[in-house]
C-alpha cells in the first residue's frame, strides 16, 4: 500500500527535487544518521555541478543500501556486498557517467570486502560512501566489522571479541586516492568532502560515523539519538592529512576524523587505454610511460 501524499499544502523541501518524495518518509529509524548523510550527499551532488542524467547511485543491502531507492536519479540496489562490482561494470560500460556507491560498513567491508580492496587497487573511478553505524542495523543489530571491541550486539551479547577494521587505513593501503572520515554531525565538512570525492578522479572513499540509536545505542547504554550523535562528535578530533594508520576510532579516547588522503594515481581506464594502445613499450618501460603521462596530466590540470 502506498501512503497517501503528505501535506501537499506546504512548500517543497529544498531537497525534494532529488528525492523520490512518493517514498518519503523513508524507513530509517528516528535519530538514524543515514538520513543526515543522505541529505549531505544530495547537497554534494548538486554542488558538484554534474549533469544529473550522468549520475548513478549504486548501493548494496542494509539500512544504508536503501539510499539508492530514495534518490531520484538512476539508482541500483544490488545484492548484499556487490555494489562495488556492479558499479565497476557500470562505470566501465559508461566511462562518461559518474558512479557513486553508497552503502554500510557491513555491506562494503564484510561481505563486500574483497571487492572494496580490488576496486581501490585498480583505482576505478568510483566514489564510495560508507555509513559506519558500528553494527548491522537492518537485521536488528548484529556484529559488524566495525563493531568496537567489547561492544554489545545481538550476536555478541556479552561484548564483541572481534577487533574492528580501520576502514580508512585499509582504503589508503589498497590505493584509494581520496580518503576522509567525518561524523554525521560534521555536516559542512562532510559535504565538502563528498563534493571533493565526487569530483576526484579515481577511487575515493568517505567514511561517516553515524548514530544507530535503535540497534547499537540501545544495547550500549546510549539510547537517545541526540546523545549518541553528540558523543561521536564530542570525542572526535580533526586531524587532516594524518597517516590513516594513526587515525584510530577509540571510544575510550578519540575518534580521529579528517581528510587523510588526497593524491593522484592513474585510473584503471587510463591504464587500460595505455596498455592496449600497443605501441607502448614492454612492462618495465610501461611504468615509466605511465608516470610521464601522469605528469603531463597534472601539468595540464594546473
Amino acid at each position: 500500500m502506498n501512503p497517501e501524499p503528505i501535506q501537499a499544502a506546504l512548500p517543497c523541501h529544498p531537497q525534494d527535487d532529488l528525492l523520490r518524495t512518493d517514498r518519503i518518509p523513508h524507513i530509517w529509524c528516528s535519530g538514524c544518521g543515514i538520513g543526515i548523510v543522505f541529505n549531505s550527499l544530495i547537497t554534494a551532488i548538486k554542488k558538484s555541478g554534474l549533469n544529473q542524467d550522468e549520475v548513478a547511485v549504486v548501493s548494496g543491502i542494509g539500512c544504508t543500501g536503501r539510499m539508492a531507492g530514495y534518490i531520484a536519479l538512476d539508482s541500483f540496489h544490488t545484492t548484499h556486498g556487490r555494489a562495488i562490482p556492479f558499479a565497476t561494470g557500470l562505470k566501465l560500460a559508461r566511462p562518461q557517467g559518474q558512479v557513486i556507491v553508497a552503502s554500510g560498513d557491513g555491506d562494503l567491508l564484510a561481505i563486500g570486502g574483497n571487492h572494496f580492496i580490488h576496486a581501490a587497487r585498480r583505482n576505478l573511478d568510483l566514489t564510495v560512501i560508507c555509513v559506519n553505524n558500528f553494527n548491522y542495523g537492518m537485521t536488528g543489530g548484529q556484529l559488524a566489522p566495525s563493531t568496537p571491541f567489547g561492544a554489545k550486539t545481538t550476536t555478541t551479547p556479552l561484548g564483541s571479541p572481534d577487533e574492528p577494521f580501520n576502514f580508512c587505513a585499509l582504503a589508503a593501503a589498497c590505493g584509494a586516492v581520496y580518503v576522509a572520515r567525518w561524523t554525521a554531525l560534521h555536516i559542512r565538512r562532510l559535504t565538502t568532502s563528498l563534493v571533493e570525492a565526487i569530483q576526484k578522479k579515481g577511487f575515493s572513499f568517505v567514511e561517516i560515523l553515524a548514530p544507530c540509536p535503535t540497534a547499537f545505542g540501545r544495547r550500549n547504554q546510549i539510547r537517545k539519538p541526540v546523545e549518541l550523535l553528540r558523543m561521536y562528535h564530542d570525542r572526535s578530533v580533526v586531524r587532516n592529512d594524518l597517516d590513516p594508520n594513526l587515525a584510530v576510532i577509540d571510544f575510550a579516547g578519540n575518534l580521529v576524523v579528517g581528510k587523510f588522503v588526497d593524491r593522484t594515481r592513474t585510473t584503471f581506464l587510463d591504464n587500460y587505454g595505455l596498455v592496449n594502445r600497443r605501441e607502448a613499450p614492454d612492462w618495465l618501460g610501461l611504468e615509466h610511460e605511465r608516470l610521464r603521462e601522469e605528469k603531463a596530466r597534472a601539468g595540464a590540470g594546473q
Binding site: 503528505i6 501535506q7 506546504l10 512548500p11 523541501h13 529544498p14 531537497q15 525534494d16 528525492l19 518519503i24 518518509p25 523513508h26 530509517w28 529509524c29 528516528s30 535519530g31 538514524c32 544518521g33 543515514i34 538520513g35 543526515i36 543522505f38 541529505n39 549531505s40 547537497t43 554531525l185 555536516i187 559542512r188 559535504t191 539519538p225 541526540v226 550523535l229 553528540r230
Partner: protein, 87 residues
C-alpha cells in the same frame, strides 16, 4: 545573542532573517534540529503528527537567522528555512 568580541561591522551588516518551515508528517521526533539550532529557535510541539511523533515548531519570539543548519541536520527532510521577506 552574546558575542565574545563585538564584530566591527555589527551595526552596518544586517542579520539575515529566516522563517522555519516544518513538513510535520515527515518528522520522526529525533530532536536533532532542536538541539543544534544555534539560536534556540526550535522546540518540540505538544502535538503529534500522523505517525505519532512530536515535531518541532519555531518559537515566534526567537529570531531565526536562516543558517539552514536544521535543514542540513534533519535526517527526514522535514524541516527547512527560507529567507524571511519581511527583512
Amino acid at each position: 545573542m552574546k558575542y565574545w568580541r563585538k564584530p566591527l561591522d555589527l551595526e552596518t551588516t544586517p542579520l539575515a532573517r529566516g522563517r522555519v518551515l516544518v513538513v510535520k508528517d515527515r518528522c520522526k521526533g529525533c530532536e536533532f534540529c532542536v538541539n543544534y539550532c544555534a539560536r534556540g529557535v526550535l522546540g518540540m510541539s505538544k502535538h503529534f503528527n500522523r505517525k505519532g511523533y512530536h515535531y518541532p515548531e519555531a518559537d515566534p519570539a526567537r529570531i531565526c537567522v536562516n543558517c539552514r543548519f536544521c535543514e542540513a541536520i534533519c535526517p527526514e527532510f522535514a524541516i527547512f528555512s527560507v529567507e524571511d521577506p519581511q527583512t
